[in-house]
Subunit: 174 residues, 3 copies
C-alpha cells in the first residue's frame, strides 16, 4: 500500500482467490488502528462457517462491525484519521440491498460521495462475478450488473486497485 | 490506441466491466469517421433497454448499423481508409449465429480472413464468459467454447488486446 | 520458461482460453523428455472428443499417462532430472477426487509436499472457475472453493504463474 494514509483501495477477485488474505495483509502493513466491517449475514450454517473461518484467519487486533445494510452510515461513523477500515465484501452488501429492496443507485451514490471525503484509509474487498455465462435468472443478471457498476464507480475513486487470482495480485491502478 | 491508422483491437471483459465505454473512448481518440455495428437483437424489453442505454452513452457522431448475423459482409461494406468501426459485441454475434444454426467455423474463418485486409481500424468488444463453473446445459458449453476459440483467433490478428475489469484496462498485447 | 530445469509452473485460464496450447509450448521449448498426465476421464462422447482433440493438438513425442485420481503417486513415479511433466488439468483432478469421495485436504497437502522435492519440471494447467455468479448447487460451490484453495497453494510454490485469456499470457509470478 502506498504511504498515503488516506484513500481507498479496491481488492477484486474470484471465489477463494485469496483476496481477503491479501487485503488483510495490506491493512496489517499500514500500522493503523484496524476496523473490520463484515457485510455478510449468518443466515445458514454454510455462511456461519465462512464467517467464522474469516474471523480466525484475521486473528487479534481488530474492531469488528457487522453491518449488512448501512455500510455508508457505519463507515462515516468509524471514519477518523489514523484508522484503516477493511470492508469485506461489497458483493454481499449488494446482495443484502437487493434482498431488502433498497434503492441501489441511491446507496451507490452515497458510498461514492463518502469516498471523496474520508479521513480513514478504506480497503474494499469484492467478488468479480461477471466473467461466466449469462445467468438464467433475472435477479442474478441484475446482481452482476449492480456489482459491475459499483466496481467501476468505486475503482474510479480508488488510489489502488488489485485483481487477485491464485493468491497473486495484479495491480490494475496505482 | 497506437498511431497506426489500421489494424484491429480486441476489448475483452466481463459483464458491466466498462468494456464498451473503454472501446468508445479508443474510437473517439482516433479522430476517424465513426461507425458502430450493433450485433444485439432487441428481442425483449430487457435487451431493448440495454441497447437504448448503450446508444445514449455513445452520444452523437456515429453511423449505426444493426447487423445480427452478417457481421463480415457489413464490415467489408463499410471498410475504407479513414474509418473506424466499433463492433459491439462478438459474443452476441456468436449467440445469433448459433440460434440461426449457421456454420460457426466457416463464419469465424471469414472474419479472420477479412481482418488481414481491412483498411479501416476495427475495435471489437467481447464478453469473456469462460471463467465460471462449467455450465450444465450443452448449448451454454458450446457457446463458451465458440467464444473462447473466436477470442483466440481474433486476438492473434489484433495489434492491441485489452482485458477490462472495474472499468480499468489491462493491456495483454500491443 | 526460465532456464531453471526444475520448479513448477501454473498455467491458469478460462475455458477455451488457449491455456493447454500455451503450456505445451512451454514444455516444447524446454527440450526435456516430455510426459503428459491426463487427469480427465472419458465418461461420455463429449469428453472423449475433447481428449482426442487435445491429443491431436499435442502431436508426437510425448509419453501419455491417464491418471484420474493418483496424480501425486504418478508424478512421484515419473519424477527424474531431465524430465518435464505436463499435468492437464488440476480442476479435472479435483472433480475426480470429489466424485470418488477422497479426502481433499489430504490429497492437496500430498501434492504441495511433493512440489518442494521434485527433480522434474512440472507444468500444471488449471481452469479458473471462480469469476462467475455463485453457483446454486452446493457441490459446485464446494468445487470452486477446492479449486481456488488448490490454486493458491500451488501458485505459492511455483516459480512461474500465468493467467491466460484469448490465447495471451499474463505473467502473474516469476
Amino acid at each position: 500500500m502506498t504511504s498515503k494514509a488516506t484513500g481507498a483501495v479496491l481488492v477484486l477477485g474470484g471465489a477463494r482467490s485469496g483476496k481477503s488474505a491479501f487485503a488483510e495483509d495490506l491493512v496489517a502493513e499500514s500500522g493503523l488502528e484496524r476496523h473490520y466491517i463484515a457485510t455478510g449475514r449468518a443466515w445458514d450454517d454454510e455462511m456461519r462457517e465462512r464467517i467464522a473461518a474469516h474471523r480466525t484467519q484475521r486473528g487479534e487486533g481488530w474492531t469488528t462491525h457487522e453491518e449488512p445494510l448501512d455500510l455508508v452510515g457505519r463507515l462515516a461513523e468509524i471514519d477518523a484519521p489514523g484508522c484503516v477500515v477493511l470492508v469485506d465484501c461489497l458483493t454481499l452488501w449488494v446482495t443484502n440491498l437487493m434482498l431488502d429492496e433498497r434503492d441501489i443507485p441511491v446507496e451507490f451514490a452515497r458510498l461514492v460521495d463518502l469516498l471523496s471525503c474520508l479521513e480513514a484509509r478504506v480497503v474494499f474487498v469484492s467478488n468479480e462475478v461477471g466473467l461466466g455465462i449469462v445467468p438464467e435468472n433475472r435477479m442474478a443478471r441484475d446482481f452482476r450488473d449492480h456489482a459491475g457498476r459499483l466496481h467501476q464507480s468505486v475503482a474510479a475513486r480508488c488510489v489502488e486497485v488489485y485483481f487477485i487470482a491464485a493468491g497473486l495480485p495484479l495491480k490494475m491502478k496505482g
